[in-house]
């Protein structure tokens, strides 16, 4: 089950695919069950003797388990190599770091591209609709399978941050601390609206074929690329776009046509076309739907504090970015107020940056130092050297 391979930074890394057989079905919020279930994951570092140093990192919408490993499709470095590595806030010499591909994903965990055991064909749109809580259930199954009773920390940004909050609501006794970066306790109307644009683009692509594109031997690449282009704008800020591109042209002079005149167009087109190489259109539909359905307070009569009522012993760290308009500081502040109301131990800071939501992945020293400080003090309390 555990295959070791040499990784960048000389880190010890492992992982594989955990298969939960049909006698351990995953019960979904929709009422459906999913079995068998496969969860693909990577690990970095080693679990200590008392199994107290495990950290679960949860990826964003289009992320995957290749947290600090070379991506098998793109050949690019892992998505958070600036946070995970020797001497970095998430140091594999101290922590056993796990990152799993999300339920509904397309990098090895069961999703709409997996085979429906009833037919042997890809699920496509017959895959059940999933939620953030379902994703967390699948993660909890993996963590348990790995022999970890209590995670030292759950860490996530964006959708990963929502999962961190869901962990605190559903499994507070199984986590020591929770870090939510640029997240929210629910999807706003604007968030849903942007996702609907992406889904509409995919579904408008004739190659989507009602979700059954794989059987037809085609892929809705154009639609998926447009979805990515629209979404990518929401990850940036106006200031960052202006700083990076302004009105700079690709060549001397305008084309007086519809070629990529502006550098920002070229950048977005590149984001779109490179995305389709590594992502599946149906996964995009299912995961964006899960995000849209996310409203942590809904199960607690609309009182978000209720979600954290059992999490008083969990140490929380909530971080937001000043120029993030996708999951704004106001959303994080709502989470913090609910944590305060529930009597939870919480830290919160809004990090000043013009990089927008994307600051999660970019050079933002204030983010590093906040995480480093929070993790160090939590580790001390947890008795981790």
């Amino acid at each position: 089950m555990k295959a070791h391979s040499p990784e960048q930074n000389g880190m010890e890394s492992g992982g594989g695919v955990w298969r939960f057989s049909a006698d351990r079905p995953l019960r979904l919020d929709s009422g459906a069950t999913l079995a068998p279930l496969e969860v693909a994951y990577r690990t970095y570092g080693q679990l200590n003797a008392d199994r107290s140093n495990a950290v679960l990192v949860m990826h964003a919408l289009t992320g995957d388990q290749y947290l600090a490993s070379t991506h098998p499709v793109t050949g690019k470095p892992g998505w958070w190599t600036r946070m995970v590595g020797r001497g970095l806030p998430l140091d594999p010499d101290r922590f056993f770091i796990i990152c799993a591909n999300v339920l509904g994903g397309c990098m090895g965990t069961t999703g709409p591209g997996s085979s429906d055991p009833a037919t042997g064909a890809p699920w496509g749109l017959s895959f059940p609709v999933i939620t953030i809580a379902d994703m967390v259930r699948a993660q909890a199954m993996l963590v348990e399978a790995l022999g970890i009773e209590t995670l030292f920390a759950v860490v996530g940004a964006s959708m990963g941050g929502m999962q961190a909050l869901q962990w605190a609501a559903d499994y507070p006794e199984r986590i020591f601390s929770a870090i939510c970066i640029a997240g929210a306790a629910r999807h706003s109307a604007q968030n849903i609206a942007f996702h609907e644009v992406g889904r509409a683009a995919i579904m408008a692509d004739p190659d989507w074929r009602g979700g059954a594109y794989e059987a037809a031997g085609v892929r809705p690449e154009k639609g998926l690329a447009v979805a990515r282009m629209a979404a990518h704008i929401t990850y940036l800020s106006e200031a960052a776009l202006q700083r990076k591109f302004g009105r700079e042209l690709q060549r001397d002079g305008l084309s007086w046509g519809f070629e990529t005149d502006f550098q920002v167009e070229s950048y977005l087109r590149h984001q779109g076309t490179s995305f389709v190489d590594r992502f599946d259109a149906n996964s995009y539909l299912y995961i964006t739907r899960a995000l849209d359905y996310f409203d942590l307070a809904a199960a607690y009569d609309g009182q978000l504090a209720g979600a954290f009522a059992r999490a008083r012993d969990v140490r929380f760290c909530v971080l937001s970015f000043s120029s993030d308009w996708l999951y704004s500081t106001a959303e994080s502040r709502d989470v913090v107020r609910a944590l305060n109301a529930a009597g939870c131990r919480a830290s919160f800071v809004e990090i000043e940056t013009d990089k927008g939501h994307d600051a999660i992945f970019l050079d933002e020293p204030a983010l590093d130092s906040a995480l480093r400080g929070f993790l160090a003090s939590a580790a001390e309390r947890r008795g981790l050297a």
Binding site: R337, R345, S369
Partner: protein, 203 residues
């Protein structure tokens, strides 16, 4: 950190029981919370308006929320803390009355310190020079001071009476000198004390 501030901290340290659950409102870079955590093993939570202050606190491993005391105290549940501290911040609040009453809703005891606008140097500056005072405890000119709601010891007493609060103790603070227990109702102390620290509880 000025010497007067250190006296403030020393007195608060003396007043803090070991292991108490403490909320420090306007905790700055966490100097006081850090001191209380090290010396008293308190379970501390801070509230601070500046991102820079909160970042410094996080780097020291303190639990601090970025927020505005005037607005965000409302989100804390009733009697969540043993002690709430407002160290030389009262005079910077937009609504000091609301803040003091919130402190004693959230915590069983409140420790509040502030510069005394009844101090003789302040009175002298106004009386003799006809100018807004610039003193050791109030060093800024009127147009740049963050201190927007200044009060005297007796003004504060009137507020605590109005809110039905009990004064457990009071001490005068002066730069470079140990805190001196005083009767805040004394007319003389309203002239003498540069700053004061009150321990309050609900009546």
């Amino acid at each position: 950190m000025t010497a007067a501030l250190r006296e403030d901290f020393r007195e608060i340290l003396r007043l803090t029981p070991a292991g108490a659950r403490v909320l420090d409102v306007g905790c700055g870079e966490g100097d006081l919370l850090d001191l209380l955590a090290r010396e008293r093993g308190v379970d501390g939570q801070g509230l601070e308006i500046s991102a820079q202050g909160v970042a410094a606190c996080l780097a020291r491993g303190l639990a601090v929320v970025q927020g505005d005391a005037d607005r965000d105290l409302d989100s804390f549940p009733t009697r969540a803390f043993d002690m709430a501290i407002l160290s030389k911040t009262l005079q910077q609040m937009r609504d000091p009355r609301h803040v003091v009453s919130e402190l004693l809703r959230i915590a069983d005891r409140a420790v509040v310190s502030f510069p005394n606008f009844g101090h003789w140097r302040v009175r002298w500056a106004l009386l003799a020079r006809g100018r807004m005072p610039e003193t050791r405890t109030l060093p800024n000119p009127w147009w740049s001071t963050p201190n927007i709601h200044l009060c005297t010891l007796h003004d504060f007493l009137a507020l605590t009476d109005d809110l039905g609060l009990v004064i457990e103790s009071c001490a005068a603070l002066s730069e470079g000198r140990p805190a001196r227990p005083i009767d805040p109702r004394s007319v003389l102390e309203n002239w003498r004390a540069e700053a004061a620290v009150f321990v309050l509880r609900r009546g």
